[in-house]
């Protein structure tokens, strides 16, 4: 599964630790999600999408990394 967490964090100048605090997980979990070693649970995915005020499908997607849904928007 691919995601845009690193990009969205960078846009908001937010550290992994800060995002981890906001969604109540460890910093290691955020890092593992960003590098693709861990797929978040549905609950965590929704919590992260709430932080970035974006729909889940805009943050996480399956398949080719460049085939992000709504990538042209």
């Amino acid at each position: 599964m691919h995601n845009r967490l690193r990009v969205l964090r960078a846009e908001r100048r937010m550290s992994q630790a800060e995002l981890a605090e906001l969604v109540d997980v460890s910093r290691q979990t955020i890092n593992a999600i960003e590098v693709g070693k861990h797929d978040p649970s549905l609950t965590l995915a929704f919590r992260i999408s709430k932080v970035f005020a974006q729909p889940v499908e805009a943050l996480f997607w399956e398949g080719d990394e460049l085939e992000r849904p709504n990538a042209a928007e």
Partner: protein, 143 residues
């Protein structure tokens, strides 16, 4: 830059404080269980106490063992999802190692290996497999 909340829920190493606290509680339960296991085994063998005293000692050891299991279950339920994944992988490795060593010791039973050694080796394989599994999964998922 977003400021770090003053009542931070994570430790300096990035782990959640409640996970660290729950892990410490579980470790203390396991330490207490190991100590009572050794003390009970030694006392029953060495002093051959009255049946009632021996029964109380065994019941205490069993109760602490159950407390350790409950504490570990609580830790897993409350744990951060990556920690839970690491422990799931480690339990798989530990369980597989225990099954392999346990069945081998049963097969080797007629060759003269005593059942108590078979049990001791099985428990050792479980503990070593679990520890190895935690270390390997942590390195794999945190790298």
């Amino acid at each position: 830059m977003i400021m770090q909340p003053t009542d931070s829920v994570t430790c300096a190493n990035g782990l959640r404080k409640k996970d660290v606290r729950n892990a410490r509680v579980t470790n203390l339960w396991c330490l207490a269980w190991a100590l009572t296991f050794v003390a009970t085994t030694y006392a029953v063998k060495r002093f051959e106490p009255a049946p009632l005293f021996a029964a109380v000692a065994v019941a205490l050891q069993l109760a602490i063992g159950i407390g350790a299991v409950r504490s570990y279950r609580h830790f897993l339920r409350e744990a951060d999802e990556l920690t839970r994944k690491i422990h799931l992988e480690a339990l798989g490795v530990g369980g597989a190692a225990a099954m392999a060593v346990g069945t081998t010791s049963i097969v080797l039973g007629p060759s003269g290996i005593s059942p108590i050694w078979g049990l001791a080796l099985t428990l050792t394989a479980l503990c070593c497999g679990f520890s190895f599994g935690v270390a390997r999964a942590t390195l794999k998922l945190n790298a």
